[in-house]
Symmetry: C2
Subunit: 647 residues, 2 copies
Amino acid sequence: MPLGKRTDCGDARFAGVELPFAELLCGFDFVVAPLVDPSHRRPALELPPGEAVQARLRTELMLSSAQWGGQIVGRTSPWIDPDSPDADAAALSARALAQELEWASFLGLQAVLVPAPPRLGAADNFARLLNRTLQNLSHMAVWVQLPLAVPKAAAAAAAAAAEEGGEGGGEEGEGGPPRDPWEDWQRLFSLCERSALLGVALEVGADLPPAPLVRRWLGQPLKALLLPTSVFTTNKRGYPVLSRPHQELAALAFRAGVQLVLTGESRHRVAPAPTQPPPPPLPPAAAAAGGEKAAAAGSGEQEPPHQPQQQQQQPPPAEGFPIVNPGESHPLRPYWEYLAYLFRRGGDPSPHEALEAGYRDYLQAPLQPLADNLESQAYETFEKGGGGGTAAARRLLRVYAVEKNPAAVVHIQAMVAREGWGDVVTIVSADMRTWQAPSPADILVSELLGSFGDNELSPECLDGAQRFLAPGGVSIPRAYTSYLAPVTTAKLHEAVRAYKDLEHWETPYVVKLHRFHTLSPPQPVFTFEHPNRADPTDNGRALTLTFPRRAEDGAGELHGFAGYFEADLYPGVTLSTHPSTHTPSMFSWFPIFFPLREPQLLPAGAAVGVHVARVVGRHRVWYEWAVTSPTPGVVHNPGGRSYWVGL
Amino acid sequence: MPLGKRTDCGDARFAGVELPFAELLCGFDFVVAPLVDPSHRRPALELPPGEAVQARLRTELMLSSAQWGGQIVGRTSPWIDPDSPDADAAALSARALAQELEWASFLGLQAVLVPAPPRLGAADNFARLLNRTLQNLSHMAVWVQLPLAVPKAAAAAAAAAAEEGGEGGGEEGEGGPPRDPWEDWQRLFSLCERSALLGVALEVGADLPPAPLVRRWLGQPLKALLLPTSVFTTNKRGYPVLSRPHQELAALAFRAGVQLVLTGESRHRVAPAPTQPPPPPLPPAAAAAGGEKAAAAGSGEQEPPHQPQQQQQQPPPAEGFPIVNPGESHPLRPYWEYLAYLFRRGGDPSPHEALEAGYRDYLQAPLQPLADNLESQAYETFEKGGGGGTAAARRLLRVYAVEKNPAAVVHIQAMVAREGWGDVVTIVSADMRTWQAPSPADILVSELLGSFGDNELSPECLDGAQRFLAPGGVSIPRAYTSYLAPVTTAKLHEAVRAYKDLEHWETPYVVKLHRFHTLSPPQPVFTFEHPNRADPTDNGRALTLTFPRRAEDGAGELHGFAGYFEADLYPGVTLSTHPSTHTPSMFSWFPIFFPLREPQLLPAGAAVGVHVARVVGRHRVWYEWAVTSPTPGVVHNPGGRSYWVGL
């Protein structure tokens, strides 16, 4: 049963539960359950017939194949350690891992949770075996389970060891420092060729790491947070609740589409299930809250103080939903209700958020307004933004609207007539670069900015059009600057990689970045001013930027660069997509994303250097970019071989 | 005119000369000459008509197109600095670089020498522009000129700055430490996507860096050493000679096929040219020494003490060879004669070296003797090696020669008859894994070793055959161990990359490694012993090796791993391809090379970790390998998807 519906969160299947045995769903969307009887420490298919737990699971839950696939996440045996120094144990582990994953795949599970073996930072055999399995999988996801933070005791021991002169390198012997789980994950992910099926599930502890160390996981394929009942505290009414930092973590997970998985035994037995028969029919909200089996828990007294379920109408349980022990309220139910409350507290998305949701992490090729004629939808999107320019235009004595797209001219004519501007506006169907104005203009208004400022060739267009301007005339915009920031976004890296060609690695994309992490704040790149009185004009640019990173933010992974712009329209009027100066309620531009063919692992504190050039050829303009530090990479798009904008 | 002929050195065109103006070849194979009049500091094609030097070069040398291509290496203008802080100078430089390279390409030059701009470690724009040119070139090579060693003065200044607390990072400001030229080269090479057309030419100074810092260049596309006349000393007869370390460097260059280029003015005017007319005909050796124009220098008195040319007969100068100023002996001639002497001092290659020369850096797929039947040539090659096993065999009472290849059986029958072993040897046409021996054997002799020891499935074959053995019987070999060492070999990296598919990156190759550098000594990998009394038998293996590297050996680049083996045939008798224990005069195996899809830059002192596994499936055996440190890479060949050996 979903926690609720929010259109920006897709299916809203965001909470699971880990049980030692898959007995109940008790409201949760899915159950994490062991694939093999935990008491057996042998490869699954080498058990005597009838002893394998999976068969019991299947019959007791009476699941259909679809339910099995949709509602069970398998968990492999935690004793598996293919890197064990004991060769026999290692061999046994290797067989067990392969067999359990094969079994899960055979069952049609959507995902399997794989507890990381001890010493994951050196678990090369584990990584190699997992990689081989991933190569053979077509749809089943594998979530490797890691701690979100180094356990305090281990960290303290490491700090003490470091003070005594212990080495701080990558070795993780008995007395060595605990490795950063993020780096262990990176190592595993790299060895597994960044498989699109490999994800990570993080165990949340009572103590959370600093926010930047949490946020960098958003750029990785983080699939689930494992939330033990032990991290819940108790409110004055005896219900399980989360601390504020944990609430924020849950909110972050909901926004990012990361599943929450409750683990551990109930520690808050607040809502004992009444005996049969069930009470009379309930009002819709309460019925929705617990479905059939939790209806008995719907009395006012037992409702937790956060009052879940009251704002939303739930669909009835889907046909075939596995109702096991229908008369019982599960002891983990209060946790589910609290998570549902947190989920719904996020509120409904704004219409704008709802609109954007469909574009999240969706790669779009940038517009080529000069070379192509845009479709009317693009114009309509432009008109939704743009601020108060139109009001100012009314005060002008005479307006020439120059439009090179014949189809758009028809659209503009209709708009001018609709708005009653016929006496003010003269519509000209021409290219501004070649049109001859009847008289010099005092103001030249244009909307030629792209997601990276100059990438739709505003500099070239306005250089061509500035001959309309009277001496002392002004251009709106009068200047604009592009910005870049290094980002982690495994999702977009995978999306570009899926094209399997060089061209897509060398193309900047317009994209609503969502599952990403900014590694260092944006820095200005190229600035253009209008009118441009330089002679000769040179709109080519090349520079190298260095992005510092704080050592305390840990290691990072670089997948590319997010691009933004700031435009100075007129004194006191700006337009910005830069995250920290973003124009409020302005949705006309998504950021741009410059991908990298090879992701780069960044040691803690290592600065990122990037060289970026805007190259102006005879018939086209393009960008070239390359990482220069910490490790130099290749120059992307040399000579505009993959991507360019036609003049 | 070549320095001499050595069959293992190919065309033996190994010495050029840099001249301020391409006036003469004076015995050298080629001339390095400026593409543009050095007095002009403007882009070549923006010079007033008639001022460009290239036109004069062409007419004065009366070169044919083929000669132009074969005998001139162009040099771009040294003032070019596209990363100049002066924007105008940078723009001018960018245009000049593009135009000079275009001009060189138009002339059909085989190579152009490009002096590195100041601050190459941060010359991103230079790298980007060079890369773009390389993308458009089809055959012309570009050699970037760098110092072999940091100049002493700069190094001393850096050391002083470091003592005063200066930073030791990658920044190379005015007071910062000088960068390692090798790292600058790596940065440029990376940014240029490791173009196959990009090479490096190193300026040799009076002081040479330690040998490991020189040798690591052998793994890079080092094309030339620039040898200034100033590094020559003078022997007691007044002739230019090199110090012993410089002689060793020259010998290294000759062996590696690296060209020597003499630069600078003559400082040893020992052989003034006599006036016309030329003396009477000379004996062949002296005539060969100087060709026509140097014949006058052929008297006994003026001959340098190293007596070049006397062992070899030179072919006459090729038709059309540009003899300019035929009556003069060029002042640089004594340097050429000394280099020719050094070259010939290397001596003629042994027949074995001559045989191997054709296989250097040539990738071969490993044999599959079990799955395929080999050709007779392979057997003949086997018979050339192998040591004294056959003599020992004669003493045995009865020999069964078991051969699964029917064609080879014919070959063996002939050999047995030829050697008169008919009474001792019974030839059996069968697979040893299934043949039933008439009686248990005391000794089981096999030759199933591959370049990586077990890679031709000796373990599986001998496990199958050991049932022939009587209790206490011995296997020859009785054990073997494979070895791996991390290596730099840009040449093989490029050779594998040229296939443009994944399969070739995941295949180990048999190859006579030549232009390579070992980053850390070989370490043992997998050991097999015979007879194998383990039950059950498991010939699968997996382990992680860590290769230490000394900080003083500088940064490195990892392209893959060289593999060797050592076999213990019988007590006191070994067979080895391991470089430090290699069996003398044994040529039956070349090393094996495990490539890496992505080269890895290794900081000075950073250890290399590799995980390698031998996986035994039902019908085939394969290896999987992955770099695990300093930066984890991908697992190569998971599941044997690209390479395997059939059982």
